[in-house]
């Protein structure tokens, strides 16, 4: 299947996926083609995107997939709305779990909530309400200092019923970890 795809579309896919600048060298290694071929394909790709909502930009050594400048108005509107929007129940529930259970991994949050929390966690991260715990090896989340201050607490353990809630949820995790294997 892969072989039917033109080189430029493979590059398009990689740039889209990475979402950050990628060097010509990296592309050439990954796709096992010459840097010249990469450059040629990028030129074509960039032309293809002339009137689209997204663009391919590049300089002399790297390239990136970005939104078209013509759409910046609508995107600023989107950002403003997102920043000012109320938090969903899912977001508040997840924040509560991170407060009581943090540091806690994404998969444990999912397990306790019984639904996938990928986007909810991402949203909380973007808003600075939670953050990656710098001390845990497997990426775990904790409430940000700003959140704890905002709640008027000195430390997270001062939240009402901290010990009881933490205990009950931990117990649930312990009792059910076999079920999750099914």
């Amino acid at each position: 299947m892969e072989h039917n795809m033109e080189l430029k579309h493979k590059i398009e896919s990689i740039l889209f996926f990475k979402g950050q600048p990628v060097s010509f060298i990296e592309l050439s290694k990954l796709l096992e083609v010459s840097i010249e071929d990469v450059k040629k394909s990028l030129q074509e790709l960039s032309d293809d995107h002339q009137k689209k909502g997204t663009r391919i930009t590049y300089n002399d050594h790297e390239c990136e997939y970005v939104t078209a400048s013509e759409t910046s108005d609508i995107l600023s509107k989107l950002i403003k709305q997102e920043d000012e929007s109320e938090l969903s129940n899912a977001a508040l529930e997840t924040l509560s779990i991170v407060l009581y259970m943090g540091p806690i991994t994404r998969s444990m949050i999912d397990f306790v909530r019984g639904v996938n929390s990928q986007f909810t966690v991402r949203n909380l991260l973007v808003r600075g309400l939670i953050e990656k715990d710098p001390t845990s090896k497997n990426s775990s989340y904790i409430a940000s200092l700003d959140t704890i201050k905002f709640l008027g607490l000195n430390r997270v353990t001062d939240i009402p019923n901290y010990v009881e809630v933490k205990h009950s949820i931990s117990q649930f995790i312990k009792d059910n970890s076999n079920e999750s294997e099914k």
Partner: protein
């Protein structure tokens, strides 16, 4: 009997899956005839089920009782099923056919699942965490409320199965009952035995239990004429026979 052991080694998701596999193993279509054919195998399996998992057992017994209806009808052509019983039989066929379709669909899905994934972007344009954007929804009271809600809604796994086990008598219970009655009276008529039950289903279970016992050589059943009462006698040598 080997077929039963073959299926027993597998973990069965439930009675429908078991029944469907029994039918598919014999390469039969799903209809009353094939269901009547696999009834004995199914009942054998249910007989071997542990009583520990009451919920599971109930699921099996409710299907077993429908099968018994079907089997009885195939043995007793004169038996008229009530409307409700007819629906029950039709429902079972329908559910089996639906499940068969979905098991086929699941195979199609398994073939392609995860082979060529469409990926989301690894990184969105929005970089996390240069700003702090709280709302006034974030209070300690609210946070505790959400935690309490969560705890309340966690699925309970350790709950003891309620006393909602089907009131239908299990085949095994019925067989024991027949054996005991035969032991006591040595010879008992089917009418006497079934007269204790109001529900037709239980009469049928009784009847099938007798057939089972006859098959296993525990009792003799005699019917002098068609539609006459059936006489059941113990054949167990361990029971002293004062017989005629």
């Amino acid at each position: 009997m080997t077929s039963v052991f073959a299926v027993q080694t597998k973990v069965f998701e439930g009675p429908l899956t078991l029944l469907l596999e029994m039918i598919e193993k014999r390469k039969l279509h799903i209809n009353e005839i094939s269901l009547a054919q696999v009834t004995n195998d199914f009942l054998d399996f249910v007989g071997m089920l542990e009583h520990k998992d009451l919920e599971k057992l109930t699921e099996f017994i409710s299907i077993a009782s429908t099968l018994i209806l079907i089997k009885s009808k195939s043995l007793l052509p004169h038996l008229d099923l009530a409307d409700e019983e007819k629906t029950e039989v039709e429902d079972l066929e329908l559910r089996l056919k639906l499940l068969q379709i979905f098991r086929g669909a699941a195979k199609d899905i398994k073939e392609i699942f995860g082979n060529t994934i469409l990926y989301s972007r690894l990184q969105t344009s929005k970089k996390p965490c240069v700003k702090f954007l709280p709302t006034d929804q974030i209070t300690t009271i609210k946070m505790k409320w959400y935690a309490d809600q969560l705890l309340q809604n966690l699925p309970k796994t350790d709950k003891k199965p309620q006393k909602r086990v089907s009131r239908t008598i299990t085949l095994e219970e019925m067989m024991n009952k027949v054996i005991n009655r035969v032991r006591q009276h040595m010879s008992i008529s089917f009418k006497t035995l079934s007269g204790e039950h109001k529900e037709k289903k239980n009469v049928i279970i009784g009847f099938l239990a007798i057939l089972e016992l006859v098959k296993m050589g525990n009792v003799d059943a005699n019917q002098s004429e068609r539609f006459e009462d059936i006489m059941i006698e113990s054949r167990n040598p361990s029971i002293p026979s004062y017989g005629t």
